[in-house]
């Protein structure tokens, strides 16, 4: 039975992804902080889909512990999906270094730290799949969320470089670029309905991307084109906009 490791398993997106892979028959390793609170999800996945689900303590903000964390997993996952992220408070982060550092630490440093470990293992095996959930926010810095955006930009570039390197080692790396998604992270935000995806749609895109060995997938296809337009606006004009 193939196994998938879900890093940051308590988010709405992660729950939807776990369900999608469980439905396809994967055993699921759920990794999160205070993993014990995921017991209901653990029982749910195993009862609904007849698969094996396990809980693993994992903290993205403690990169030094990541090798030990991965070491402890048995069996080793065939697919690793890095879902965790932290939107943070942009305004607070402009003056509060702790907040700013946390945005960077979760979205970039933490993701790089764990995926480095996973990547080396997959290289040693000559197989494996890594999927990283980045964000369209990383494609161009905007005044409203450039801390989160720049950290995700770093993560996007990391995934792209990792893909380039691991391609030659037969390891598949998938970048997932969601736009707006209805989750706890965005609760209370007035999101434009036609542009916003559900966590289930994200899950379907991730699953499809892993199965078809895609490189970069957008959740809701038009985001690729929206971002293309946003990226082509000359900087001299872009800086005058209030985005």
């Amino acid at each position: 039975m193939p196994t998938v490791l879900i890093l940051g398993a308590s988010s709405d997106m992660a729950i939807a992804i776990a369900k999608r892979f469980a439905k396809a028959g994967y055993d699921i390793q759920l990794a999160a902080r205070t993993a014990s609170r995921l017991q209901p999800l653990q029982s749910d996945l195993s009862i609904r889909y007849g698969i094996k689900a396990t809980l693993h303590e994992f903290d993205a903000e403690k990169p030094l512990q990541h090798p030990e964390f991965f070491q402890s997993l048995t069996p080793k996952p065939d697919t690793t999906i890095c879902v965790f992220g932290y939107l943070g408070n942009q305004e607070l982060a402009t003056t509060d270094w702790k907040e700013c550092e946390r945005i960077i630490a979760v979205n970039y440093t933490g993701a790089v730290a764990i995926l480095n470990v996973v990547a080396e293992y997959y290289v040693s095996q000559g197989k494996g799949t890594i999927a990283g959930i980045s964000s369209v926010a990383g494609e161009r810095g905007r005044m409203s969320n450039y801390f989160y955006g720049s950290a995700k930009a770093g993560f996007t570039a990391y995934l792209s470089g990792l893909r380039n390197r691991l391609f030659h080692q037969k390891v598949h790396v998938l970048s997932v670029q969601p736009g707006f998604v209805y989750t706890r992270m965005t609760e209370g935000m007035p999101l434009p309905k036609p542009l916003t995806a559900t966590p289930e749609q994200v899950a379907e895109t991730v699953y499809g991307g892993v199965m078809k060995k895609k490189n970069v997938v957008y959740v809701k296809w038009f985001w690729r084109w929206i971002m293309l337009v946003i990226k082509t606006i000359p900087e001299s004009m872009f800086k005058k906009l209030k985005l």
Binding site: R37, I47, R48, R184, G188
Partner: protein, 447 residues
Amino acid sequence: MKKEIANWGNYPVMESDEKKFSFIADIQHSIQNASPFIPRGNGRCYGDASLAPVTINTVKFDKILSFDKVNGIFECESGIILDQVLEVIVPQGWFLPVTPGTKFITIGGAVASDVHGKNHHVDGCFSHHVEEMDILLADGTLVACGPQNNTDLFEATCGGMGLTGVITRVRFRLKKIETSYIRQKQVKAANLEEVLRLFDEYKDYTYSVAWIDCLKKGNGFGRSILILGEHAAISDLTEQQKKDPLRLPKKKQIPFPFNLPSWVLNTFTVKAFNFLYYGKNLKKEINNIVNYEPFFYPLDAILHWNRGYGKKGFIQYQFVVPMESKQGLIEILQRISDKGLGSFLAVLKVFGPQESLIGFPMEGYTLALDIPVRKGLFDILDELDKIVLQYGGRLYMSKDARMKPDVLQAGYPHLPRFRSILKKYDPQGRIRSMQSDRLLLTPHNPA
């Protein structure tokens, strides 16, 4: 973020801050600060029971906690909808002990409304099959209750319309089935007298309900089709069906695309529908094997069927009168027919005996009908309420959007005790809904 929400009847509409959660810890904090608030499931009650300025929505709180396939015990978080439960239990040879006419309600909602089904006369309400549950009280503490422990909280929660707290976990017993099919019998009854006689004649059937024509006058007054059913045994199935006796029905839903203008439903169209519906069964009696889906959930096949009643919404009027008040049933039906309150979906059922604190059913006749909201309707319904009370009956809170407080008071003899239990578990009166305020169930000016 505030947005406009309504329940299944699309009346009334209220602006509410709807809070969703996946973990209890996420909600404990919110409810300690929210006031007033009411728990809410999938919004399938008809009126204003799950509307409040703050609603605690359980639909994301939907995990299955345990499933004992040998003894048929199921334990889950409260936001899971029946459809999802059926998907897991039916292939293992189990069924819901009690199900209402839609599979799109949550388990929490099934308890809060203490729903009944076509098998009430045999199996009682949903709560009769509950072994234990957890309630998150207004002060953020989690309390377990059941028929043996914290019984006051348990009784007040079953049918208590969410007013005791947020139901978070429910453990209940399932019904064993050999197949996912139903052995159905339909019997035509020329009038009310005959259908009531048939209900009695076929009272040993597990499932029974009648579709009734409320507009027909004269000899055919109360003409009906009695629909009976039993879970089919493997030996009842065709060779083809025997290959997969616990097959789940295919999922298909036809969406109702828009709100129909409210004039579409009028006495003429309803009469025409009733004529065709009654006439479609050419034989006096039809016996066949059907899947459970069309038998229990015929309307679920049409997504958003409530749009058929127009933008102004509709009222589902459901009452029960005791067995000895057959005259009351006749009088009310006559009134409905005189006033032309015809409904495509008028459903008649005989309830078995039941004693409960705040639950709706009592041994007797229950009738439910959908009526589009229009001018003067509430006055007519007030008159019907009087007849219901005069014959010792009551109305169903899950369907209600308009009854007066005194109607509730007269219909539910244990109301004072219910109120005192609410006060015990929520002394500050922070759990309130538009309905509980309207019915004076909860204090308007909490301390």
